[in-house]
């Protein structure tokens, strides 16, 4: 068990660590700070954000302690308090980081040139793939964030509002001429979310893509009607297995 000689002393994160992937790819909004931050401090912060997400995925936000986070990051308690006010602050920062990246991916799928139903399907597929490939993020964003302090809740709610506004474009172009309630889009998203969270809690995060036909159906049926929503759902079955590459 000899580590590569060039390896720095910190415990290396799990290879498919979600936030880690985000951070390593430097997909984060750059240039938030004008002040040049010492590089080491920057990486300590990132390690803490990752450790926070991992610990929450493992034992839940409530049971996570600052000691867990510091140990997971290989960072001292004193450093933690230099960077964050408290546990809630650290969790909020962790969520903010991951969410910005995730929402960027979903929004990127949308294009005004595609038919609405195609966009819903593509966005749903991108979202499910994202969650499936980043179980730590999936758990943090959908299971822990709604009940882990105000800042995290606000971030969770704002992510949901973005998805909702994308979905509600369907209202522009209803197939059946009926006045559906204004909450129909929000309800449909909650329906999909509930199914997804159930699978995450059941330990089936890696197989979330299989839910695509269900998610397509529930999010389109209020706008397109049953017949067309079923057609879209069946079409999505073919896409329910992610194509390689």
């Amino acid at each position: 068990m000899t580590p590569p000689s060039s390896s720095p002393g910190n415990a290396s994160p799990a290879p498919n660590d979600d936030l880690g992937t985000v951070l390593e790819q430097e997909r984060l909004p750059a240039g938030i700070d004008d002040l040049p931050e010492p590089l080491v401090e920057h990486s300590q912060r990132e390690r803490l954000l990752n450790a926070m997400a991992r610990s929450c995925a493992k034992k839940g936000y409530g049971a996570t302690t600052i000691a867990d986070v510091c140990e997971g990051a290989g960072v001292s308690r004193a450093t933690f308090y230099e960077l964050f006010k408290d546990k809630e602050d650290c969790f909020g920062a962790s969520m903010e980081l991951a969410l910005a990246d995730a929402m960027g991916r979903i929004v990127a799928v949308y294009s005004p040139d595609k038919p609405w139903a195609t966009m819903v399907r593509d966005a749903a597929a991108a979202f499910l793939d994202l969650l499936a490939s980043r179980p730590t993020f999936a758990r943090m964003a959908l299971v822990e964030a709604p009940s882990s302090g105000e800042r995290a809740f606000e971030l969770y709610a704002s992510g949901k509002r973005v998805l909702q506004s994308l979905l509600e474009r369907g209202r522009d172009d209803p197939v059946e001429e009926v006045a559906i309630p204004s909450s129909a889009g929000r309800a449909a998203l909650s329906a999909a979310e509930s199914l997804i969270v159930g699978q995450i809690l059941a330990g089936n995060t890696a197989r979330l893509r299989e839910l695509l036909p269900d998610v397509v159906y529930i999010t389109t049926v209020p706008y397109l009607g049953q017949e067309e929503a079923l057609r879209q759902s069946h079409a999505a079955e073919k896409a329910a297995v992610p194509a390689d590459g």
Partner: protein, 223 residues
């Protein structure tokens, strides 16, 4: 932030001379008191901030008695939670079964659920929101509670003309839509207005089974 000892809450206590009551009766009333206390304290302070000491103080029982009944705060919370869910499911079931025809049954069941939650906003908060903060076991318990409503939704499949062709998880998703609309309202601190949500919640229930046009018609029928 323990409530300072200023105003004392009225608490139910066993009648005087309770030493003459059989021990199992005393244990039972202590347990009930504790579960009621858990609902009040968690609704007020939130699950995370609640301590075992808060619970024993509110219930007027000793720490030893607490630990004779539960291993920890979580165990106590889960028992309180199960009690709440049982009551809610009983009320929904009774209202649902009193009606004929699936859309009317769904309307009656949902109305009963909304009214029950609106009557006791602190219970609504605990059942729909705080449960998320109480750890992985409680989160699974919440899912299980929602699944107890599945038979009511599955009847929609038999009712709907094309019900058999619907996606496998239709009932789970419809339940999720209802729970989402309710918890959004409770999170906003509007639990007492839940009954006014009936037509939206009913639409969300019906639409996956019968489509938007028929669902809108059903929602409009006899309020």
């Amino acid at each position: 932030m323990a409530a300072a000892g200023g105003q004392k809450r009225e608490r139910w206590r066993p009648p005087r001379g309770r030493h003459r009551l059989p021990p199992e009766v005393i244990a039972r009333s202590q347990r009930e008191r504790l579960l009621e206390a858990a609902v009040r304290v968690v609704a007020e302070k939130g699950y995370t901030a609640t301590t075992v000491a808060d619970l024993t103080r509110e219930a007027g029982i000793s720490r030893t008695t607490f630990y004779a009944m539960f291993d920890d705060k979580e165990g106590c919370f889960l028992a309180a939670y199960d009690g709440i869910v049982d009551v809610l499911v009983r009320r929904v079931t009774a209202a649902y079964e009193a009606e004929e025809g699936w859309p009317s049954r769904a309307r009656a069941g949902l109305a009963a659920l909304l009214e029950a939650l609106a009557e006791e906003p602190e219970i609504a908060r605990l059942a729909m929101v705080e449960v998320g903060a109480a750890g992985p076991t409680a989160q699974r318990r919440y899912r299980a509670a929602l699944q107890r409503l599945t038979p009511f939704f599955d009847e929609g499949r038999d009712f709907a003309p094309g019900g058999r062709n619907l996606p496998a998880n239709t009932s789970r998703m419809a339940i999720g839509a209802v729970a989402g609309l309710i918890s959004d309202e409770v999170t906003e601190g509007r639990a007492e207005y839940l009954p006014s949500l009936l037509s939206e919640v009913l639409f969300a229930t019906l639409v996956p089974y019968i489509g938007p046009a028929a669902a809108t018609r059903e929602v409009g029928v006899t309020k």
